[in-house]
């Protein structure tokens, strides 16, 4: 196992596993978020549940998941850039692969920029602010069109990232063949749609019905 982590496949396995872990986190995050559409009590109860000590201990692991995913993505991208010192004068990549698959690093960077905003605003207030009702805070925050629109754009970018990321993660760990690839691609689009629609429906709801 000594040089596993430095091998190209080893590095990609780390990307794959951290990515799948982050998808799992997104599932939990979205489930709690959707309680915003149920009722104020339901969302506040959801937030209280997420603040329980046994959930809190996972936070550093989650942070590590993000950090590992970002650092390894950067290392791999730099290596990949170096692998072709002279560029082509003319390329038609749109004819052989999807836009999202070619721009995973850019999509990831944009999602990261959103994450920084999200941490600085909502997460920070949840963690350290004096909040009486989480629901009240979120609804008044997302009602502001500037934040609402950013959240919707971020949800779409995240969806695009997952259209490729999800099935690619399984391919990297070897769980794919000609039959499963089609299935995994289908599931990837399903997850991408659920995340993009699920995360954007909430700001949309507050922007329309919040006032």
């Amino acid at each position: 196992m000594s040089n596993f982590l430095t091998s190209s496949i080893g590095k990609k396995v780390i990307m794959s596993l951290s990515g799948l872990f982050l998808i799992l986190f997104l599932c939990v995050h979205l489930s709690v978020n959707l309680l915003l559409l149920v009722s104020e009590e339901a969302f506040n109860a959801g937030c209280d549940f997420m603040a329980l000590p046994f959930i809190k201990v996972i936070e550093p692991v989650l942070a590590l998941g993000f950090i590992v995913h970002i650092i390894w993505a950067s290392v791999l991208t730099i290596q990949n850039q170096k692998a072709r010192p002279a560029k082509y004068a003319k390329r038609c990549q749109s004819q052989n692969c999807t836009w999202a698959s070619r721009n995973m690093y850019i999509l990831g960077a944009l999602v990261l920029a959103f994450l920084a905003l999200h941490i600085a605003t909502v997460w920070y207030q949840f963690k350290f602010g004096e909040i009486t009702s989480h629901y009240e805070f979120v609804s008044s925050f997302l009602k502001q069109p500037c934040f609402g629109v950013i959240y919707i754009i971020a949800a779409i970018l995240l969806g695009l990232h997952i259209t490729h990321g999800f099935w690619s993660a399984f391919q990297t760990i070897g769980f794919s063949n000609d039959i499963w690839r089609k299935r995994l691609e289908c599931i990837a689009y399903f997850f991408a749609f659920v995340f993009a629609a699920g995360f954007s429906i909430i700001p949309l709801y507050f922007m329309i019905f919040g006032n």
Partner: protein, 253 residues
């Protein structure tokens, strides 16, 4: 029916004196090219023209000219082996181009495939990967009977699909990361599927991946571009198998 004639074509071709020189594009015109002409024959016509004008002909790789040897390369109009699917450059024909078209012709661009001259690149990197483990160690002796080792039909078919790889380098040339994973996967997969090759599967996967990394190929991001440009349509499912073989081997260490 007689072939159509393309009255004039503009060719933007990469010219480079040798590996050390700085290259650049040069524009040439060819006239009255029949649509039945193959792409390489069109380059032959250009070269005859250049020889007549006392100019250095364009150097490009070619051998069998029937799509089986993997010698021809060329990045034609932004795509490896040109705009047609499932063909090598030698199988590409001029009927694919319009009269008056400008065609950009470049060598494979990949750090591990340095340009030697004009459109010729050095693909020894693939040979080195093969030498690292892309074989079955055979002790000499009598030839075994053909049916002595039973092989399931689906395994034989899949191994044959992988064995169709001609090592042309289009996968690494087209990959946005210059990754050689499809080539390595085809070789590892072909042998790992068969009983004769299975015995050395673990060592082979580790050695070939290590060599591929060492030679400076990029990391695969599963875009699937290699599979689309592969003249033999080798599936990226073989890459999944390579990943499995590699992980299995590393877990056993």
């Amino acid at each position: 029916m007689a072939d159509k004639i393309l009255k004039e074509l503009t060719l933007k071709i990469w010219r480079q004196k040798d590996a050390k020189s700085q290259g650049g594009f040069k524009t040439y015109k060819v006239h009255n090219i029949s649509t039945g002409t193959s792409f390489l024959e069109m380059l032959d016509i250009l070269n005859e023209q250049l020889v007549e004008q006392n100019e250095e002909p364009v150097a490009f790789d070619h051998d069998c000219r029937e799509g089986i040897c993997g010698t021809c390369s060329l990045f034609v109009d932004g795509r490896a082996h040109g705009p047609d699917d499932d063909v090598t450059t030698c199988q590409l024909h001029m009927r694919r181009f319009e009269d008056g078209a400008t065609i950009t012709i470049e060598p494979w661009r990949c750090g591990a495939f340095p340009v030697i001259k004009d459109l010729i690149v050095d693909r020894k990197a693939y040979d080195k990967i093969l030498q690292a483990g892309g074989y079955v160690s055979v002790n000499t002796g009598g030839v075994p009977d053909a049916n002595a080792i039973p092989i399931a039909n689906d395994k034989a078919e899949e191994a044959m699909d992988a064995a169709a790889c001609i090592g042309c380098g289009a996968c690494a040339a087209t990959c946005k990361n210059s990754s050689a994973m499809l080539f390595v996967a085809a070789k590892v997969s072909q042998l790992a599927l068969l009983p004769q090759g299975k015995i050395e599967a673990a060592r082979r996967a580790k050695a070939m991946v290590a060599k591929m990394d060492e030679l400076g190929f990029g990391n695969c991001t599963n875009t699937g571009a290699c599979e689309m440009e592969c003249p033999k349509s080798i599936s990226i499912s073989h890459i999944a198998r390579l990943n499995r073989e590699f992980l299995k081997a590393k877990l056993k260490d």
